[in-house]
């Protein structure tokens, strides 16, 4: 071999530096994903003696899922939950950040008030809301009645309200968290742009729409990604408040996945659901980044 082949030494340090990350990603992300894909091709039911050992059944678990009425309900519930909670809590977070990004009396206290729900664990939040939502004398119902609400009060047991009630809890908990990111984003905005706009006579609304929004796009991208993922991943409040009911009115994908795995002991179907969940999350995250990259080009940043 000629010496020239070895003239460029293979750099060791970069590989060494990323080695821990690669190791952990492989151990905690790639390996479980591969395992889920593999298991989803088998029939394995731990509470049925003859199906306890896995048998290869190809895509049957997926076929079963897509012809299952409960699965359809669960997908619809999840879509409503995600599309209902994510945009509203982000918008609320943004509005709160705008309101609290100025000099007002008791600023720290206000920020704390809106942020504190996020410090609480979801189980505590849900337990607090269980008392709020109590029919007749719960705080939430009392407040609504004061405002003139005369509808049903059994929020967590009513088929039309159960999903809504867990959505309200999630929005209440998350809006303050997103507010924090927007506050940080707002405080890092360049002031000169706004001064120039003000000089040019741009109204508050024009500044918000043409400057604040576009400048905060990266923040929004980040928040929408974590909000979307957390909307799929949060089930604690469902366990506490509704247990997915009444009937299946508030069963979301991850809650059902838990039921299938631990109540039905259906390992294969649970693995198939896991794969579906991963695909959805991956698709969203990738799309989100691609779209935002395209916008970067358009804005010329």
């Amino acid at each position: 071999m000629s010496r020239s082949t070895f003239r460029q030494r293979v750099p060791v340090l970069p590989y060494l530096l990323i080695a821990p990350t690669v190791f952990f990603v492989a151990l905690f992300t790639v390996w479980p994903t591969a395992l889920a894909i593999y298991q989803s091709l088998f029939r394995q039911r731990l509470n049925i003696a003859k199906y306890r050992e896995p048998t290869f059944i190809g895509l049957q678990n997926y076929v079963d899922l897509f012809t299952n009425d409960d699965f359809r309900t669960v997908i619809v519930n999840t879509a409503i939950y995600v599309l209902g909670t994510v945009p509203i809590s982000i918008l609320l977070g943004f509005i709160l950040a705008l309101l609290l990004n100025r000099q007002i009396r008791g600023l720290g206290l206000w920020r704390l008030a809106f942020f504190y729900p996020n410090v609480l664990p979801m189980v505590s939040v849900a337990t607090i809301w269980m008392f709020f939502l109590t029919p007749d004398y719960g705080l939430f119902n009392t407040a609504l009645q004061f405002l003139g609400y005369r509808g049903p009060q059994n929020w967590t047991a009513n088929p039309d309200l159960a999903l809504l009630s867990i959505m309200i809890v999630a929005i209440w908990k998350n809006a303050g968290y997103y507010m924090l990111f927007y506050l940080a984003g707002l405080q890092n905005l360049p002031t000169d742009v706004f001064e120039a706009a003000a000089l040019d006579g741009a109204s508050w609304w024009q500044q918000l729409w043409h400057l604040t929004f576009p400048l905060l796009r990266r923040t929004t991208l980040f928040i929408s990604t974590i909000a979307f993922i957390s909307a799929f991943q949060t089930v604690d409040h469902i366990f506490v408040l509704t247990q997915g009911g009444p009937s299946t009115a508030s069963t979301t994908l991850l809650y059902w996945l838990w039921q299938v795995r631990f109540e039905y002991q259906d390992v294969g179907r649970a693995a198939a659901l896991t794969v579906i969940l991963i695909v959805v999350l991956l698709a969203f995250t990738v799309t989100n980044f691609l779209l935002s990259e395209r916008q970067e080009d358009r804005y010329g940043y």
Partner: protein, 457 residues
């Protein structure tokens, strides 16, 4: 740079070591040779009639499902046990709710770990636990008892019903409860009402005791929680002559006309008699305090809530079985947890666990446990103890609950329980909420349940 790389390798090594599989959650006792025993290999073994047993440590996973200091009580029993059996150490491990205990053990075993030797799990989990090969039958231990028949026959039959499967016995009743109808005796006396003895007299009493001010309800005649509905529903079906479950663990009777009629009666209590809130009532947690504060004249609940209710209520509390459809008939259903020995635990731990089960089910301890927790004493002999007799003087309701256990039917235990129960819940709640008629709902429930039970036929 070389130093940096060295440090990195070191860090990596530490990280990898930290991720290495942990020791099993149940550490095996290291079994040090007892200092009193001479070293074995050099000397010929001397025949000793009672060899000092090797020390052994077992864990008991238990849930807390009632408002009682279960943790302290169990630790107290473990300490007492240690005095009698110095070589066995029992460590009670609080593991959440019933579901959590089962899930923890399952995941431990699936992950290749060693489960605890003993666990308190729902009596109705029997089939799932046997099918998943998680537990051992207790016949071998029972057969070794000189007084096996006397021991088993002393348990209240309703509580032992969910211990048998496949001709073997798999669990011993431990913390058991029963569906109870609580009624406010003062309100009944005020209204000149007798305790109900049929669906009709029950519904009429509930209707009469419902108090309205304009459109607002000040007091409900009855609160009937249905957020997790099968358990409290069962007495209605049994009281109409058809339990939802048969003798065989693959038989369900959701679409039997008598069961459908029972669903209709639940709906009538709100729609016709206006005696309770409409639809599904997610009020399990609040019902006892609503009853104790006078916001409800009657509630359906667990016997386990008796102590809490008596503590809060400033009126005379009545307890009774659930009225059946025909006058003079009553029904109820048992619930709660049994003691199971887990297969994955080493033999010496399982043997020790059985000793602890025997210890826990002595009449004196059964009585003590019942008095301190509100669970029902599972053995007849416990009721003969002085402590229990004294308790009955103070809390006559406890004796009444024991007496109406005679009306108990079989709790809903079937193969593939999680799935079948979910199916039943789904359609029962749909009927309660008026999304389907009782006939339609129970028909669908039967079809889906039969599909879920197919692999067992």
């Amino acid at each position: 740079m070389r130093r940096l790389a060295g440090v990195l390798v070191l860090v990596l090594a530490v990280v990898v070591a930290a991720c290495a599989p942990q020791a099993t959650p149940t550490p095996e006792p290291t079994q040090p040779p007892a200092p009193t025993q001479p070293p074995a290999p050099t000397q010929p073994p001397e025949p000793t009639p009672t060899p000092t047993p090797e020390p052994v440590t077992i864990q008991v996973y238990y849930p807390v499902a009632v408002d009682a200091p279960i943790a302290q009580i169990l630790q107290g029993y473990a300490d007492k046990f240690k005095e009698k059996y110095p070589h066995i150490t029992v460590e009670p491990v609080f593991s959440g709710g019933y579901g959590d205990v089962k899930t923890t053990i399952q995941t431990t075993v699936e992950g290749g770990g060693t489960p605890p030797a003993l666990a308190v799990m729902l009596a109705v989990d029997l089939y799932d636990l046997v099918n998943a090969d998680l537990i051992v039958p207790l016949d071998e231990y029972l057969n070794a008892m000189p007084d096996k028949d006397a021991y088993l026959n002393d348990f209240i039959p309703a509580f032992l019903e969910n211990s048998y499967y496949d001709g073997q016995i798999w669990s011993i009743p431990f913390q058991r409860s029963v569906v109870t109808l609580y009624y406010n005796k003062d309100l009944f006396a005020e209204a000149g009402l007798e305790p109900p003895d049929s669906w009709e007299s029950w519904a009429e009493a509930a209707s009469k005791l419902t108090l309205r001010e304009g459109d607002d309800v000040v007091r409900w005649g009855l609160l009937y929680p249905s957020g997790w509905p099968y358990w409290l529903f069962q007495p209605l079906a049994i009281g109409n002559g058809r339990n939802i479950v048969g003798d065989d663990p693959t038989e369900v009777y959701f679409n039997d006309p008598r069961v459908i009629e029972a669903v209709q009666f639940y709906i009538d209590l709100s729609k016709e008699y206006k005696a309770m809130p409409e639809g599904v009532q997610a009020v399990w947690g609040q019902a006892p305090s609503d009853f104790a504060s006078g916001a409800a004249a009657m509630i359906m609940h667990s016997s386990g809530s008796l102590a809490g209710i008596l503590k809060q209520a400033n009126f005379e509390v009545g307890v009774m079985a659930v009225p059946g459809k025909n006058p003079g008939t009553f029904a109820t259903v048992p619930g709660g947890g049994n003691l199971y020995i887990l297969k994955g635990a080493p033999k010496e731990q399982r043997d020790a666990a059985w000793e602890f089960i025997k210890f826990l089910t002595q009449p004196e301890l059964v009585a003590d446990f019942s008095i301190n927790t509100g669970y029902i004493a599972t053995r007849q002999a416990a009721y003969e103890t002085a402590a229990m007799q004294e308790h009955f003087q103070q809390v006559p309701q406890a004796a009444e609950i024991r007496d109406f256990l005679q009306y108990a039917g079989k709790e809903f235990a079937v193969q593939n329980l999680g799935e079948v129960r979910n199916i039943f819940h789904k359609y029962l709640q749909a009927a309660y909420n008026g999304e389907m008629t009782p006939e339609e709902a129970m028909q669908k429930a039967q079809e889906e349940a039969e599909k879920a039970l197919e692999p067992f036929k």
